[in-house]
Amino acid sequence: MDPADRGQPEGAQPSRRWISLLLGSGVLASIASFLYPAIRYIIPPPLAESSSRSVVAAKVGDLKNNSGVVFKFGSEPGILVRLADGQYRAFTAVCTHLSCTVQYRADLREIWCPCHNGLYDLAGRNVSGPPPRPLQAYEVHIQGEDIVVSRSA
C-alpha cells in the first residue's frame, strides 16, 4: 500500500515505530514496577518483622517460676519476669543509669544491671545502686500459647 494512500508522509514510519517502542517499553516497565512491591510483599525480605506496640515475648511454659528472659521489643530489649508465684511482669530491659541491658537475678529475686550493680525490685522500682529512675513497665497478656507484651497506652 502506498503510504500516501494511508494519509501519512513516507518519513513518518520510523518515527511511529520509535513512539510505539517507547510506549511499549514504558508500559512494560511500569507494570514491572507495580508488580515488584507486590511480589516483595508476598515474599518478605529475610529481616524480622518490627512491632512497636506489642510483641510475643515468650510462649506459655517457656519460663519456670522465679526466672526471666530478655526479648526483642522493636529496637530495644525488654525483660519478661515470671515471679515465684507464677505471675508475669515485663519492663524495658534498658537500665535507666547508662542504658546497659538488665537481667533477672533468681538468687536476689530482683532485676539487676551488671554494669554498675544497679537493682530494681519486681515492680521495676530502682532500689539500689546508681539507677536514677524506675524501669518502664509493660503490660503482659496471655493469648492462647503466647505471652504478649504491650506498651501501655
Binding site: 494511508r6 494519509g7 501519512q8 513518518a12 518515527s15 511511529r16 513512539i19 510505539s20 517507547l22 510506549l23 511499549g24 517499553s25 514504558g26 508500559v27 512494560l28 516497565a29 511500569s30 514491572a32 514496577s33 515488584y36 525480605p45 529481616l47 524480622a48 518483622e49 518490627s50 526483642k72 522493636g74 529496637s75 530495644e76 530489649p77 534498658v94 547508662l98 542504658s99 546497659c100 541491658t101 551488671p114 554494669c115 554498675h116 550493680n117 530502682n126 545502686g129 546508681p130 536514677p132 529512675r133
Partner: protein, 415 residues
C-alpha cells in the same frame, strides 16, 4: 418551736465542741501581738511539725499556757525559756533521744541523732564552746520545723546542699576554720547534683557522704567504702587492684584521686591513658608498667568506641531511610553494655580484663555495622529501581502523548 430550741442547742454544742477541745495556749495569744523576735515564733509555729503533732510552746519551753498573766513564764511554773546555743542539742534531744516518748508520735523515727551529733565536727566544737557551729535549729530551722519528707524542708535531699552552703560557702563566716568554701559551688557542677536536680532523690548530697547528724569528712581510708555504697562493682575491682595498696602506702584517697571529691563530673575515656587529660600520668611515666597498661586500656576503649559509633551511625542512617534494622539495633545494645562494662573494668587496671569486654563489643559492633551496610545497599538498590521505573513511566507518558498527537494528525481523524 419547743422542738426547735433543743435542736439548735445541740447544733451549737456540736459546732463549738472542737473549739472547746483545743487546748488553751496563752503563749501564742500574747506573743502573736508582739513585734520582732518575740512575736516571730507565734507567727511561724502554726506550720511547725510539732504543732501538727499536738505539741505546744510549753512542751519545749515549759511555763503554763493556761495562765494569761506574766507568771506563766515563771520558774515556779517550769519555764525554761529559750536555750543557749550550746544547750540546743540537749534541749531537742530531751524528747528526740527518748524512744518511748517518740514512739507515741512516729514509731519509725530514729532516736540516735543526739549521740551521733556529739561525734560530729559540729558537736565536738560546740562542746568546746564554739557557738558558730551548726546545731539542730541551724539545719532544721526553729518554730517552723518541717518534716524531713516535706519538699520545703531545709533538710529535704534537694535542699541539703543549699542548707550546708549557708555557712560552708560563706568565706567570712568560715574564716578561722581552715576549710575551703568552694565545695558547694564544686558540688553544684557534679553528676550527683545534676541527678538530684533531675528528681533522683537517692542521688548523694552533702549528708550522704559526710553524714547528717554525725557530719564529718570521711577519712582517706574510708573514701572507697563511702563511694562503694552505690558504686559497688567499682569498689570491688579497685580493692583487688594493685592500686589499693599503692594508694594506701602513699596516703592517697582512693576514688577521689581521679574523680575529685565534690566536683565529680561525668568521667570521659580521655581520663584513661597517657594523653594530656589522662589521670594516669599524674603518677605514671613513660617506661613504667602502669604507663604501658594505661596506653593499652585507652587504645582498647577507643577502638570499641570507634567501632560502636560507626555501627550506630550506619544504623541511624538506615533507620532514617526507612529500613528495618531493629535486630542489629538490639544487638548493638549489647556492644554498648560491653563499652560500659569495659569502662567499669578500668578500675581493675588490668588491660587483659578490659580487653575481654572491648573485644566482645567490637565484634558485635562490626556485625551490626555490616547489617547496616547491607540495609543501606538494599536501600540504594530500591532507590535505583525506583529511579529506573520512574524514567520508564515518564517515557510511557511521553510516548502516549506523542501517539495521541500522531493519531489526531492522521487525515482520517482530521475529517
Amino acid at each position: 418551736m419547743r422542738k426547735t430550741i433543743p435542736s439548735l442547742v445541740v447544733l451549737l454544742v456540736a459546732i463549738a465542741s472542737p473549739l472547746a477541745a483545743a487546748p488553751k495556749n496563752s503563749c501564742l495569744t500574747c506573743h502573736a501581738e508582739l513585734e520582732g523576735p518575740q512575736g516571730e515564733p507565734a507567727k511561724k509555729f502554726p506550720s511547725d511539725v510539732h504543732n501538727q503533732a499536738g505539741l505546744g510552746c510549753a512542751d519545749c519551753h515549759g511555763g503554763d499556757p493556761q495562765d494569761d498573766s506574766m507568771t506563766a513564764m515563771s520558774p515556779a511554773k517550769g519555764f525554761r525559756g529559750a536555750p543557749k546555743k550550746t544547750a540546743i542539742p540537749e534541749f531537742c534531744g530531751k524528747c528526740h533521744s527518748d524512744s518511748n516518748y517518740m514512739r507515741r508520735f512516729n514509731p519509725g523515727l530514729r532516736t540516735d541523732q543526739l549521740s551521733q551529733y556529739w561525734t560530729s565536727v559540729h558537736g565536738k566544737r560546740l562542746r568546746q564552746g564554739d557557738a558558730k557551729v551548726a546545731a539542730c535549729v541551724d539545719c532544721h530551722s526553729v518554730h517552723d520545723i518541717l518534716a524531713v519528707t516535706d519538699t520545703r524542708a531545709p533538710v529535704y535531699p534537694t535542699n541539703v546542699a543549699t542548707t550546708c552552703a549557708r555557712c560552708h560557702a560563706d568565706a567570712a563566716y568560715m574564716k578561722g576554720y581552715n576549710l575551703p568554701t568552694n565545695q558547694p559551688a564544686q558540688y553544684a557542677k557534679s553528676v550527683h547534683a545534676h541527678a538530684l536536680a533531675q528528681g533522683d532523690t537517692s542521688a548523694p548530697t552533702c549528708s550522704t557522704c559526710h553524714g547528717n547528724h554525725g557530719a564529718a569528712p570521711p577519712g582517706v581510708s574510708s573514701v572507697e567504702n563511702v563511694c562503694g555504697t552505690c558504686h559497688v562493682i567499682n569498689q570491688q575491682l579497685f580493692e583487688k587492684s594493685p592500686h589499693q595498696a599503692a594508694f594506701a602506702k602513699m596516703g592517697l584517697p582512693a576514688c577521689v584521686q581521679c574523680h575529685s571529691n565534690h566536683e565529680i563530673v561525668p568521667p570521659t575515656d580521655a581520663w584513661v591513658g597517657v594523653g594530656s587529660n589522662a589521670t594516669c600520668i599524674q603518677c605514671h611515666a613513660a617506661g613504667d608498667k602502669g604507663y604501658a597498661a594505661a596506653q593499652r586500656i585507652a587504645g582498647d576503649l577507643a577502638k570499641l568506641e570507634t567501632f560502636y559509633q560507626r555501627a550506630e551511625d550506619v544504623l541511624n542512617t538506615a533507620e532514617r531511610s526507612g529500613m528495618e534494622v531493629s535486630t542489629p539495633r538490639v544487638e548493638l545494645v549489647s556492644a554498648h553494655g560491653d563499652l560500659i562494662k569495659a569502662r567499669v573494668e578500668v578500675h581493675s587496671f588490668n588491660p587483659g580484663e578490659v580487653q575481654k569486654f572491648t573485644d566482645e563489643g567490637t565484634d558485635i559492633s562490626q556485625k551490626a555495622y555490616q547489617a547496616g551496610v547491607v540495609a543501606l545497599r538494599e536501600r540504594d538498590t530500591r532507590r535505583k529501581g525506583l529511579g529506573v521505573s520512574l524514567i520508564f513511566i515518564v517515557l510511557a507518558i511521553g510516548g502516549l502523548y506523542l501517539k495521541i498527537r500522531q493519531m489526531e494528525s492522521t487525515p482520517a481523524n482530521r475529517h
